[in-house]
């Protein structure tokens, strides 16, 4: 507490400095430090205690703690046990077994079991799976629901305009399967173990390791036993180092290690920033009379306005019980900070075309995850010395088809096929200690993945016009359906999603209906259904670069959009105990690892890092 005279003197100095500095040019930390001193009656309680923000080598509580890590060597380390990582692992071991070579492939995955953090619609195009495991049917892959009906609608508040699903349109699903992706990933994990991949679920890759020449050496798993305030507990254990000749990063959309690699190796200098959407999903057990197995329904329009990209899906599974998977996707380039993707999802379910299917049913699961929408324009450089990026991490999703699994798996397989000859060559031909495999990127560009992404590259950006959704649909009809994406131009995106939010005072709050508890539900009961849990006594893994920015900027200018876009209720602005002002409360235990906050925070102050392995949602066949 400063005495009054000293405070006012400091305040006057600060105000003079503020008038000199233009806020766009000052770094956020500098601005808010001055801002904080200028209004020092509101002191910011400490929120972030994670060692990535408060390094341990300067922290007296960590003096004398043994920080040496056990290290082990593998040939290939794969970060992430999703479709891309597992496809790469399986392909590597298939090649090794075929050519009778010894190859140690280790895969680390933060979920407590393979598939527990997997969430997807999903309508799977089986092309990549058939290339990887041609006899998947005999091996019992859980592709049990071929698509029988494909329905597309434009919704208005009360009505529905049907859109004919003509062959050739990207959304057409003939030949595809409705799957529970978590079950497919679990099955892929079993296939991987059969061919000799070492799978380590429950261990998160927390740090990238580098050789002295700057190439990637491998990864280190998370430390365990750090208390909430950042101090070491009695059971503190250092993570382990896994060294590899080459490391594959398949963390899925907006991976936290990939974020560091983009900076370190400048991988994004020649591509557009990635754009994203958030997908929320529920599983419902419905009344048998309403069940139409194999039916696929997609819609656009209500409840979103024509300038907010998004839409819904509803798939009737056929696995012996009347189960439907349904959900809602909202493009994260939305401009209104009052928009809540969760509540848009909940109110969409009340539409007269949707509600009858759900009446009399019971919701049994909930979850959410961010997904890529950048497509062709946003693919970064894919390889760097010692590593490469696969799957949704660099982002190969075909947005109008809303499918990214087949391209993710193919990218994993291409990576394996590019790496294998280099690993098993007589002499290790590499300038750097970590193997550089630029052949992977070349092979990808020559594959059907690239052709597919190129053909649909202009569909998503075509929504950025005055007519919004309708302009985009007309563009798709003309240039994709008729001309197959061969137009010579490539449209640009609008910049990062975080920069799209308009200040709250320029926007109107949205009146959402209250959940009725039968079809629509409140946030907390939904989060409970995700089964998410984390060890409570650990530093919050939603770290803030500057603890004062949320109240000063996010709440001050944008009315705290993180309270609304987080699908798990992690962020709450609560009144201070002293009565005046608010503070940000982070309920890290609720986190479902969707990554939306890291993407959409207008101040880009939130940095999601991986919590202790084994924590997070417990999705079952999502």
């Amino acid at each position: 507490m400063f005495p009054a005279s000293r405070y006012s003197c400091q305040a006057r100095r600060c105000v003079r400095l503020l008038q000199k500095i233009k806020t766009e040019h000052a770094t956020p930390q500098l601005y808010t430090t001055l801002h904080r001193r200028a209004c020092s009656t509101v002191s910011t309680p400490r929120i972030t205690t994670h060692y990535t923000i408060h390094p341990r080598d300067k922290d007296p509580r960590w003096e004398g703690v043994e920080m040496e890590r056990f290290a082990d060597e593998a040939d290939v380390v794969i970060v992430g046990g999703g479709p891309a990582g597992l496809a790469a692992a399986i392909r590597l071991k298939q090649l090794a077994n075929k050519h009778e070579k010894e190859l140690r492939v280790c895969l680390v995955e933060k979920a407590p079991q393979i598939g527990a953090h997997t969430l997807s619609g999903a309508c799977l195009e089986p092309s990549a799976l058939t290339e990887l495991i041609p006899d998947w049917k005999e091996r019992g892959a859980p592709l049990n629901t071929p698509v029988t009906e494909d329905v597309f609608s434009i919704l208005t508040e009360k009505y529905r305009i049907p859109v004919p699903m003509m062959p050739g349109l990207p959304m057409q699903n003939h030949g595809n399967y409705i799957v529970r992706m978590g079950n497919l990933v679990r099955w892929l994990g079993e296939q991987a173990e059969e061919v000799g991949v070492e799978l380590y679920p429950g261990y998160a890759a927390a740090e990238v390791l580098f050789h002295e020449d700057g190439s990637v050496k491998g990864i280190a798993t998370n430390d365990v036993g750090i208390a909430k305030d950042g101090s070491p507990k009695d059971i503190f254990e250092r993570g382990m180092e896994l060294h590899a000749k080459v490391t594959l990063f398949g963390e899925g959309c907006h991976g936290h290690l990939a974020k560091q690699l983009y900076k370190k190796f400048n991988l994004r200098e020649n591509c557009e920033p990635q754009t994203y959407a958030i997908g929320l999903k529920e599983l419902w057990m419905i009344d048998e009379k309403k069940w139409r197995p194999g039916r696929v329904e997609h819609s656009v329009g209500w409840p979103l306005d024509r300038n907010t990209y998004g839409g819904s899906f509803l798939y009737h599974l056929n696995e012996g019980e009347p189960l439907v998977a349904l959900g809602f996707v909202v493009g994260l380039d939305y401009t209104n900070p009052y928009l809540s993707p969760f509540r848009e999802f909940q109110r969409w379910k009340h539409h007269p075309f949707v509600a009858p299917t759900l009446e009399g049913g019971q919701r049994i699961a909930y979850g959410a995850r961010a997904l890529n929408e950048g497509g062709f324009q946003s693919v970064p450089k894919l390889t760097f010395p010692g590593g490469l990026l696969i799957g949704c991490s660099p982002g190969f999703m075909n947005v109008p088809k809303i499918k990214g699994t087949h391209t993710a798996m193919k990218s994993g397989m291409l990576a394996a096929e590019a790496i294998f000859p280099k690993l098993t060559a007589e002499t290790l031909d590499s300038e750097t200690a970590g193997l550089h495999v630029p052949e992977y990127a070349e092979n990808l560009k020559n594959s059907w993945v690239w052709k597919e992404l190129y053909a649909v590259r202009n569909i998503r950006p075509s929504f950025h016009n005055y007519f919004g959704l309708y302009g985009g649909m007309i563009y798709t009809g003309i240039f994709y359906w008729i001309f197959r994406g061969k137009e010579p131009w490539t449209l640009k995106h609008c910049g990062t999603d975080a920069n799209q939010l308009k200040p709250a005072k320029e926007c109107t709050p949205i009146e959402y209906p209250k959940p009725d508890g039968k079809i629509s539900f409140d946030l907390l009961s939904s989060v409970a259904l995700s089964g998410t849990n984390h060890e409570g006594d650990q530093p919050p893994h939603l770290t803030l670069k500057d603890d004062s920015i949320p109240v000063a900027r996010n709440l001050g200018i944008y009315d705290g959009p993180e309270q609304r876009f987080c699908p798990a209720g992690v962020y709450e602005y609560v009144p201070l105990d002293t009565g005046d002002g608010m503070r940000l409360q982070i309920n890290a235990q609720n986190c479902v690892h969707c990554k939306t906050c890291d993407i959409k925070d207008p101040s880009q102050n939130i940095n999601w890092v991986v919590p202790e392995g084994g924590g997070g949602p417990a999705y079952n066949g999502m």
Partner: protein, 255 residues
């Protein structure tokens, strides 16, 4: 003179997901795909056994689990925490659905005799069925002393000093070996099974046996008639005065 006891630690492979739902035919709960892992009280039991071994008070820690193939994962975790070897009693399918404390304690009694164990450590109860019976039944079948709800264990010669957490407070007892001890929450804080230890554990031995090999009959004496969800919690109501409360209680037939 320290007793050379070789304990057997038994582990429950139980489901730990917070979201459980009843099967549509009301015969049980859905277990397919639900997250399973080691029972938290059993983690504490393993930790205690490993601590005793580190103090050189016991010779060898053997981890046992009864269940399907996947329960071997739980044994691996125990091996990663410091157990020396594992025994997987293979019970699957219908037998596994009917496996209850009585059957498990018969298996443990048979194993204890076979392994010449001097100490059996278990968790006090499993968090999926909350039975709190296996330890007690095992002791009865073997005619061994039991120390249940242990919050402190110390070996003294060939006797064990135990502090038990009971409703009235803490009870101090002294029992002979061989004995059965069940672990309560405050006995210790289990260590993490770190990745290097999980990797080393892959090399440790897990033997598989069938209940028939141990001469155990798994027939259940219980038949589940029906499983139902608990009734939905109803909203409460506020009353202004004590008189109102009494009236409401009388209306609800409670008074």
């Amino acid at each position: 003179k320290c007793p050379r006891v070789s304990p057997v630690v038994t582990l429950c492979y139980c489901f730990v997901s917070p979201q459980i739902r009843v099967k549509p035919d009301n015969t049980g709960v859905v277990t397919d795909g639900v997250k399973h892992s080691m029972n938290p009280f059993c983690e504490i039991a393993v930790e205690e056994a490993v601590k005793l071994k580190e103090k050189k008070l016991i010779k060898e820690v053997v981890a046992v689990s009864c269940g399907p193939q996947q329960s071997q994962e739980t044994i691996r975790t125990a091996l990663a925490m410091g157990a020396d070897r594992g025994i997987h009693v293979d019970v699957s399918g219908k037998d596994y659905e009917n496996l209850g404390p009585l059957q498990v304690s018969k298996i443990l009694a048979a194993l204890a005799k076979q392994e010449d164990a001097q100490l059996i450590l278990l968790g006090k109860q499993a968090i999926d069925d909350d039975c709190n019976q296996t330890g007690q039944m095992t002791a009865a079948l073997l005619d061994w002393p039991q120390g249940t709800f242990a919050s402190e264990v110390s070996l003294e010669g060939d006797k064990i000093n135990l502090v038990r957490e009971i409703d009235g407070g803490l009870e101090h007892i002294k029992i002979n070996t061989p004995a059965v001890i069940t672990a309560d929450l405050r006995l210790n804080t289990p260590r993490y099974a770190t990745l290097p230890n999980i990797m080393k554990a892959k090399k440790k031995k897990i033997a598989t046996v069938k209940p028939a090999d141990l001469g155990v009959d798994l027939t259940s004496r219980l038949e589940v008639l029906k499983v139902e969800e608990p009734p939905q919690r109803e909203a409460g109501m506020k009353v202004e005065t004590v008189e109102d409360l009494v009236v409401k209680l009388k209306e609800a037939g409670r008074v």
